[in-house]
Amino acid sequence: MFTSRPTLLWLLALPVCVFTAFFLMPLGVVLVASLTTQDGQVSFAQYGRILMDGYHWQVIGVTFRLAILSTLICVVLGYPLAWYLVRIVQWRSWRRACVILLILPLFTSNIVRSFGWMVLLGRTGLVNDALLATGLVERPVRFLGTETGILIGLVYILLPFTVLTIGNALARVEPALEQASRDLGAGPMRTFFSITFPLTMHGVMAGGIIVFSMAISAYVTPALLSGGKVTVLAMLAFQQYSTVFDFNYGGALSITLLAFTMALIGFSSWLARLGAHDMKGN
């Protein structure tokens, strides 16, 4: 159908223009701004301000801690749920219903979902009521405005991603491979760890990367559940643009956030390649 060179140029014209004009150039502007002072001098002062200041390191620390923990929890909770949906549920309609329940939160705004948790985690919310009623705690636990509260919110919002990627990987594992393992004398647990889990590792990695990159740059959930008491990197960057109007410093914060995300994605694709290389067994 389309095979000539001029056609190729026509095909690429719009995508390249749009992404250059409204994606690459804006990011370039931020990068330039982050490297200049407010009177237009080229300088690393903005980055110096971030790296020299203990407060920033603390914010970066909180951001990373929340991202790592939410990634781990999402994988640990996501795997059994994916297993349940792919392997245990026999009844098609129930699986369909479960998948809809799984995707429904993804189709709902972070605000709405975090709002639900604001109600649940309040001093007189359902969670505290339940904890008090079961006698696990004596006084209401403060969740809102703590890292725990934010963590619950982040896990909640990001969990469907790991369930979907792991579930997809699980569904693609050929049943014959597990049968072959059993046939060769391995029990169910051994088969899981030698065959099934390694074969779904790419799904775990893919889900983990999505969760980590979204957790590290999350803004809405931390903003709503922190009550202003905990600050993450994205909140700090947004403040510079919305209230402080320091675009140079805000730019440097944005680039820092971007750099962390890209470094992580680079690192994990390197890991994935390493894994793929291992699989070849050379």
């Binding site: 050929e174 014959a176 491979l177 049968q179 072959a180 393992s181 059993r182 046939d183 060769l184 004398g185 391995a186 029990g187 169910p188 051994r190 030698s194 065959i195 390694p198 074969l199 291992d278 699989m279 070849k280 067994g281 050379n282």
Partner: protein
């Protein structure tokens, strides 16, 4: 000595009965084929023997031990899967060493046994490779090595040659048979290819619609099919109505089968040997391929097929009226 005894195995799925009270005894060292069209239940039976599926009723006994409720890893048998089921994240050596490792062998011992098994299938040099980078024939051999490395009493093969091209398939048939004789392992071989079954098996169990139609040595299956299904499925058959004229041996004779090589075509009635029966017919098509000639005739509302291992007889052409003749002794009477 009976190695495998299957008694009254029945398996039903939601809307149909895949196996209906199937019984089968397999002797130690035997090569037996389960042959039938797709959906006949042969793979279901194999999966029940392997432990990948449980029967609704009936027993599977291997070497005197009832294994009906044992999981696959506890059964003294191994399987060559249809699409080989090689572990893609392991090397060829790791694939083959997997079984010995599960059996409690040390890594070193497992690897040396794996290497030995790979040598048997002629792939010793491929040990460090990934199975994904191999040809279909090589993958087939790896799957075979992996299944025999533990020296199972019984080897199940689920259409293992179906993915190979014709030439390779013919060669693997011979190799498989040699390996089976050499190892002395009992083979249960599932196939829908009757020539493959005929070429390799000691006995063939022809299956249809969830039961075994006939089980016998290949020659008997071909020459003395019990039912019309077996006659049609194995080789080609002319089905003739039998008159109760004393020539038949069955009590209620209905139909007889005549193989094409036993039907001859004559241009003149005088050429018919004494004692032969004849049917008038008209030639509709002829072929001559590789030293074999085939003649297709219509006789009344019936189509007949004659084959001879020489050139077409003089005067036999499309549209010519001829006489089809056969020795009544060559007609095998079907039971049902």
């Amino acid at each position: 000595m009976t190695l495998l005894a299957i008694t009254n195995v029945t398996k039903s799925f939601a809307n149909y009965r895949a196996l209906d009270r199937v019984s089968l005894d397999v002797a130690q060292g035997e090569f037996i084929s389960l042959l039938g069209p797709s959906g006949c239940g042969k793979t279901t039976l194999l999966r029940i023997i392997g432990g990948f599926m449980s029967a609704n009723s009936g027993r599977v006994v291997i070497d005197g031990e009832d294994v009906s409720v044992l999981p696959p890893e506890k059964r003294p048998l191994n399987t060559v899967f249809q699409n080989y089921a090689l572990f893609p994240h392991m090397t060829v050596l790791q694939n083959v060493a997997y079984g010995p490792l599960r059996g409690g062998a040390s890594r070193k011992e497992a690897e040396s046994r794996a290497q030995e098994a790979l040598e048997m299938v002629g792939l010793a040099a491929m040990a460090p490779r990934s199975p994904r980078a191999m040809s279909g024939g090589q993958q087939q051999r790896v799957a075979l090595a992996r299944a025999i490395v533990n020296r199972p009493k019984l080897l199940l093969l689920d259409e293992p040659l179906s993915a190979l091209d014709l030439q390779l398939r013919k060669r693997m048939q011979i190799e498989l048979k040699q390996l089976q004789v050499q190892l002395g392992i009992t083979f249960i071989f599932v196939t829908h290819d009757q020539e493959e079954a005929m070429a390799m098996s000691d006995r063939i169990a022809v299956m249809s619609a969830g039961h075994i139609e006939q089980i016998d040595v290949p020659e008997a299956i071909y020459r003395r099919p019990k039912t019309r299904f077996v006659a049609d499925f194995i080789g080609e058959a002319n089905i003739l109505p039998m008159q109760a004229d004393g020539r038949s041996r069955a009590e209620n004779p209905s139909e007889g089968v005549l193989r094409p090589e036993n039907l001859r075509v004559f241009t003149q009635a005088d050429d018919l040997p004494a004692g032969w029966s004849s049917l008038p017919g008209r030639v509709t098509a002829t072929t001559y391929v590789g030293g074999t000639s085939n003649i297709y005739l219509t006789s009344g509302d019936r189509t007949l097929h004659a084959r001879r291992y020489s050139a077409l007889p003089d005067g036999v052409r499309d549209g010519v009226d001829v006489i089809a003749g056969f020795d009544p002794a060559d007609v095998h009477v079907l039971e049902g």
